[in-house]
Structures are given as structure tokens and as C-alpha cells.
């Protein structure tokens, strides 16, 4: 390892290092990812039960003719594509931040109890308050997510060392188990609630019109802004709390701010799409393997690559069982699980 050449390249601590050449420069990764995202988004608009030529799709997007039936089909698919983009980005960012702030490689909105909180709140909305519209669920799902986050954090904070990664995961799992059984109890006793709830519960991006998406945009925007700005803080936390605090970071404040971002993103995404598993778990690992340990890049790339997986899952789900559809929540798990296993087998799971 004689490489005095190291000095001639700038010794960059903060910029991602590429000295050993094994890693693709993150800028290039980002460009490629954006390209793939564009293709996936286009495919999501173009592919479906009704076959359309690429040219028709393109024309519909750039120069829509309201009288043209094909164009109408394309435009009707648009909200679904936008949902997948927004929800995917939200879950990718939230999963990355959750893993980083808890230093737990298995943290995701499902394991941390956030999805269960949202689900229980939605069931409450349906059963107790008779809410049946997605716009109505949003507030309940957000509140449920936030409450779940608070409970998990409070429970995990009991005891001497405070909220350690392991205790957070345990508290999340416990809350999930508790809420799930309560949820089952309600659903078993009320056929009507079950009928409404199951459409939300599977996790899907179809049938969400602009009326569902628009009210979510502010939540998603604020949440994404918070998390995209949290890269430096996550980099600090990844060295362990003591080192981070030694470097002058306010660890509790960082975590608190990020938790707000996570709750906004998870709550809004889950409200719109139902619980979508695996996305927030798999994507950060995939990105970390590609881009290295700098969270400023991991966050950005997660926000781009998570929608890719969600779009692909949605498109595949649309095509594999014609004329029916497999909901995207099931497809992400079907696609995500093998990816996750592959990641685990290829390299030891990142110790966070």
C-alpha cells in the first residue's frame, strides 16, 4: 500500500472518498438514478391494462387532447404515478433517517411501530367516527403515527441508558403487537369497518386522485426538507452518541427534529397509500452499499431510488395478473424481500 499519491488527490474527509476506486462517484450515481427514475415513471404512465404506443403516451403528456380516449387513459394514470413518486420518496427518506437516527439496521416504519399507529388510528376513524374518505384518513394516520412515535420513544427512554437503538426497536415491536391485536379485535367485531379498512390496509397507490395527494404535499415537503437537511447530523450520529456529542452535536435535538420529519413523511405516505412494507428497510441498505457511508448522499439517493422500486412494483403488479392487479404493498414485499436477502448475503449488514 505505498501510495504517496494520496496527498496529491485532496485528502477529503467530508467529500465522499473514491480513492480505492471501488465506489461509483455519488454524483454519477445520482444522475443514473434520476435517469432510471424517469424511465420508471414513464413506464408507470405507459403500461397498464390498455396497451398504448409510446408515442401516444408522449403526446398525451406533452400535448394532451381531451377528446382523445387514449390520452384520457394516460392522464388518468398520472395521479397514480405521482403518488408512487411522492410516497416512494417519503418512505425512502423516512427509512434512511430512522435507521440512521436509531443506528438500527432493521429500523423501518413498520418495525418502529409507526405503521401500526397509523393503522390503528385509521381503524378508529372508520369504526368510531365513520370516516370513509382518504382525505379524512390523512389526519388520523398522521396523528396515529405521531402518537406511536411518542409512545415508542417514551417507553424506550425508560431506564438508565435512555432510548438505545435496541430498546427503540423492542418498544416499536411491542407497540406493533399490541396495536395489531386491538386492531384485529375491532375488525373481527365489525364487518363494516373491515370492508372499508381492507382497501386502505393493503397498501396501494391506485385510486388516489389529486384530491388525496394535494393536501399531503405540505406535509411531504416539510418532512422531506427536514430530512434532506439532516445529513450532517446523521453522519455525526453514525459515529456513536459519545463521539457525536464530543464533536459538539446536540444529539437529542437532532433526533427530535428528525423524528418530526419522519412522522410527517411516514404519516402522510401511510395515510395516502396504507402501510407499505420493505421500502423503508431495503432502500437505505441498497443505497449505502452503492454510495458509501455519507448520509448526505444516502438521503438524496434514497429519495430517488425508493420511488423507482415502488413504481416498478406497481407496474409489475398491474401486469402480472390481468385483468386484476396485485396491490403495490404486496409487490414491494415480493420484490423487496429477495433484494434484502441478497444484500444480507453479499455483505454483512451495515453496522450503523
Amino acid at each position: 500500500m505505498s501510495s504517496p499519491a494520496v496527498l496529491s488527490t485532496p485528502v477529503s474527509g467530508s467529500r465522499p472518498a473514491q480513492q480505492n476506486g471501488r465506489r461509483v462517484p455519488p454524483v454519477l450515481l445520482l444522475a443514473v438514478s434520476l435517469g432510471i427514475l424517469a424511465v420508471a415513471a414513464f413506464a408507470s404512465v405507459a403500461l397498464g391494462a390498455r396497451p398504448l404506443s409510446l408515442d401516444t403516451v408522449w403526446q398525451a403528456l406533452v400535448n394532451a387532447d381531451p377528446a382523445n380516449g387514449d390520452h384520457a387513459v394516460v392522464l388518468s394514470r398520472l395521479p397514480r404515478t405521482v403518488s408512487a413518486l411522492l410516497i416512494g420518496a417519503a418512505l425512502g427518506l423516512a427509512g434512511t433517517a430512522l435507521q440512521g437516527m436509531t443506528r438500527n439496521p432493521l429500523a423501518d416504519p413498520g418495525i418502529m411501530g409507526l405503521n401500526a399507529g397509523a393503522a390503528f388510528a385509521v381503524v378508529t376513524a372508520i369504526y368510531v367516527f365513520g370516516v370513509t374518505s382518504f382525505t379524512g384518513y390523512v389526519w388520523f394516520a398522521l396523528a396515529g403515527t405521531a402518537l406511536a412515535a411518542l409512545v415508542v420513544y417514551a417507553v424506550a427512554s425508560l431506564g438508565r441508558e435512555g432510548a438505545t437503538p435496541v430498546k427503540l426497536a423492542l418498544a416499536g415491536a411491542a407497540l406493533t403487537a399490541g396495536l395489531t391485536s386491538l386492531l384485529s379485535a375491532v375488525l373481527v367485531s365489525s364487518q363494516q369497518t373491515l370492508n372499508t379498512f381492507r382497501f386502505w390496509q393493503v397498501g396501494t397507490v391506485s385510486g388516489r386522485g389529486w384530491d388525496v395527494l394535494l393536501p399531503l404535499i405540505p406535509f411531504l415537503a416539510v418532512g422531506a426538507a427536514i430530512l434532506l437537511a439532516s445529513g450532517r447530523a446523521l453522519n455525526g450520529l453514525s459515529l456513536g452518541d459519545d463521539v457525536a456529542r464530543g464533536l459538539g452535536q446536540n444529539v437529542a435535538l437532532s433526533r427530535g427534529v428528525m423524528a418530526v420529519g419522519v412522522v410527517l413523511l411516514c404519516g402522510a405516505a401511510t395515510a395516502a397509500a396504507g402501510p407499505i412494507a420493505f421500502l423503508g428497510l431495503v432502500i437505505p441498505h441498497l443505497v449505502r452499499g452503492l454510495a458509501g457511508p455519507d448520509y448526505r448522499w444516502i438521503l438524496v439517493l434514497s429519495a430517488v431510488l425508493a420511488p423507482v422500486l415502488l413504481l416498478v412494483a406497481d407496474v409489475v403488479g398491474r401486469l402480472i395478473l390481468p385483468p386484476g392487479e396485485v396491490p403495490v404493498g404486496i409487490m414491494t414485499a415480493v420484490i423487496g424481500a429477495p433484494v434484502f436477502i441478497a444484500i444480507i448475503r453479499r455483505r454483512k449488514l451495515a453496522e450503523l
Binding site: M1, V11, R160, D242, G248, G289, E351
Partner: protein, 295 residues
């Protein structure tokens, strides 16, 4: 005086268990201070308190005359660096990246990475002899190399005070000496005030300018190692019967444990293993002739 770090009537506790009990100490500026003591004597806790990682239950830690817990944490981080016992290296991080993370307190929203940071990182790598490792992954390094990289990270922070919590714990003896030599270099070259918690009493006595022996959350003795390390003190602080002789290399006090089994030196016997742990069923009256050291 610059870079003055001191604690007054410091009480540190976890939940309701008091670990450091009303301790007053001043860490000499520009010197190497080593804190020793038996397990659970509160030495690491004291270091955490001095590094403002643990809020005092009462009493105060002062950095240059100001209460360290009411100073902005980032401002403290530009004066006082800390290397905890088990820092966490993110998977796949390169040496240069990790050392660069030490620049955190010097950066901010409007103060991005610049030439100063590059220079600080390069200097830290050079000082710790890790420059040629700059592009390597942390996971590929040996324990000794890794510890030098962590010290480099603390150096990149460019602080006048450096606190190290058992920096030699998982290292073999060669690398223990290497790390302590390195820290001594830094102290001699840059005048950095160094505070180290160490397990090994002999290395502590050799490398300390100022030695603090702790027992039960209080200071049992402090001063120059030659004054502090005596057979009585080792008995008192560690509960260990030992002979104290001059270190043949440095002349500093050297502790030779007595133990129960090897106390009468046979003519051909080599030195008994240093650091032999007393048997739990130890009965202290049974030992025979403890080696009488030349004093």
C-alpha cells in the same frame, strides 16, 4: 492560564447511583494526566463528566473558567476533544472520511468544507502515521491502525485539550506503547493538554506527567507518578499486594504484583507474569515473602 479544565465538588451519578462523589481536580495544562483506578472506581465516568457527556448532579466542570455545561457544545468541541472507549465506525467508511468527520465543530451551514479542513485532516493523518491508509476502509485495518485513525479524527478536531478513555484497551502491548508514544508526541510537539484513562498501572506511571489514582469515586492520590505509586497506594486503590520497583527503562515506578503462587523467586525462574489476577478465594495472609524491592 490557557485551556484550564477543572472540576469542583463534582458529583456524577447514573439514575440514583452516585459514581463520582464530590471530586475537585484541576488538570494541569500542557501536561499528560493519566487517571487510574480499579474497575468501577468512577474514572471513565469522571472523564465523561469532564467532557460534558454527563451532566453533574451537583458541582461544576469549568473550561477556562466557564461552566462547560452552559457553553455552546460546538464551542466546547473546538477546545476539547474526546475519544470514547468504543467509538462506532460506520460500515465502509474510509480513513480519510472518518478523520474528516472530526472537522464537524469547525463547519456549519455557511462554512463548508475548505482548504483548512483538508490541511487539518492531512496533518492529523501525518501525525498519526496513517497517511498511507487514507483511502482504505476502516474495516480492513488492524486494531492498532484503527485506534491511530480514531486518534487522528480527534486530532483533526484541532483542540487544545484531548480526553482519551482507555485508548489502549483492545490492543496488544506493542500497539499500546505505540498509541501512548503517539499521544506523547502530540503533547510534546503541540502542547496539547492530554487526559487519559488507563488500566495498565505501569504504562500509566511511565507516560503520565501527572497521575490521578481514584477509589470509590474520589481521588485517592495525585501528583508525579514517582510520588503517587507506592506499595501502600496500590494496596489501597487496587487491593493488590505488589512490589514497586524502578522501571529499568524509564526509572518511573513499576508495579510488580505478588499474587499467591509465585512469591518466592526460584533462582532460575523468569519473572512471574505481570498482571496475574488474584484468585477470588484469595486469603491475603497466606502469601510468603513479598519481593522486597530496591527502593
Amino acid at each position: 492560564m490557557q485551556n484550564k479544565l477543572e472540576a469542583r465538588d463534582l458529583v456524577l451519578s447514573y439514575a440514583d447511583r452516585t459514581v463520582v462523589d464530590g471530586l475537585t481536580v484541576e488538570l494541569p495544562a500542557g501536561k499528560i494526566t493519566v487517571i487510574v483506578g480499579a474497575n468501577a472506581c468512577g474514572k471513565s465516568t469522571l472523564l465523561r463528566g469532564l467532557a460534558r457527556l454527563l451532566k453533574p448532579a451537583s458541582g461544576v466542570v469549568e473550561l477556562n473558567g466557564r461552566n462547560i455545561n452552559s457553553m455552546p457544545s460546538r464551542e466546547v468541541a473546538r477546545t476539547l476533544g474526546l475519544l470514547p472507549q468504543t467509538p462506532n465506525a460506520p460500515d465502509g467508511i474510509t480513513v480519510a472520511d472518518l478523520v474528516g468527520r472530526g472537522r464537524y465543530p469547525h463547519q456549519g451551514w455557511f462554512r463548508q468544507w475548505n482548504a483548512d479542513d483538508d490541511a487539518a485532516v492531512a496533518a492529523a493523518l501525518e501525525a498519526t502515521g496513517t497517511l498511507e491508509l487514507a483511502g482504505r476502509d476502516i474495516d480492513e485495518l488492524s486494531g492498532g491502525q484503527r485506534q491511530r485513525v480514531w486518534i487522528a479524527m480527534a486530532l483533526a478536531q484541532q483542540t487544545d485539550i484531548l480526553l482519551l478513555d482507555e485508548p489502549t484497551t483492545f490492543l496488544d502491548v506493542t500497539h499500546q506503547v505505540e498509541v501512548l508514544d503517539l499521544v506523547t508526541d502530540l503533547n510534546r510537539r503541540a502542547g496539547t493538554t492530554v487526559v487519559i484513562v488507563l488500566h495498565d498501572l505501569n504504562l500509566a506511571a511511565r507516560y503520565a506527567d501527572h497521575l490521578i489514582a481514584m477509589k470509590g469515586g474520589c481521588i485517592a492520590a495525585q501528583g508525579a507518578p514517582a510520588d503517587v505509586v507506592t506499595e501502600e497506594l496500590v494496596q489501597d486503590v487496587f487491593g493488590l499486594e505488589a512490589a514497586v520497583i524502578p522501571d529499568p527503562v524509564s526509572g518511573t515506578p513499576m508495579v510488580v504484583p505478588v499474587g499467591r503462587h509465585h512469591s518466592r523467586p526460584a533462582p532460575a525462574a523468569k519473572n512471574p507474569a505481570v498482571g496475574y489476577l488474584p484468585n477470588p478465594h484469595d486469603s491475603r495472609h497466606e502469601h510468603h515473602n513479598p519481593m522486597e524491592a530496591a527502593s
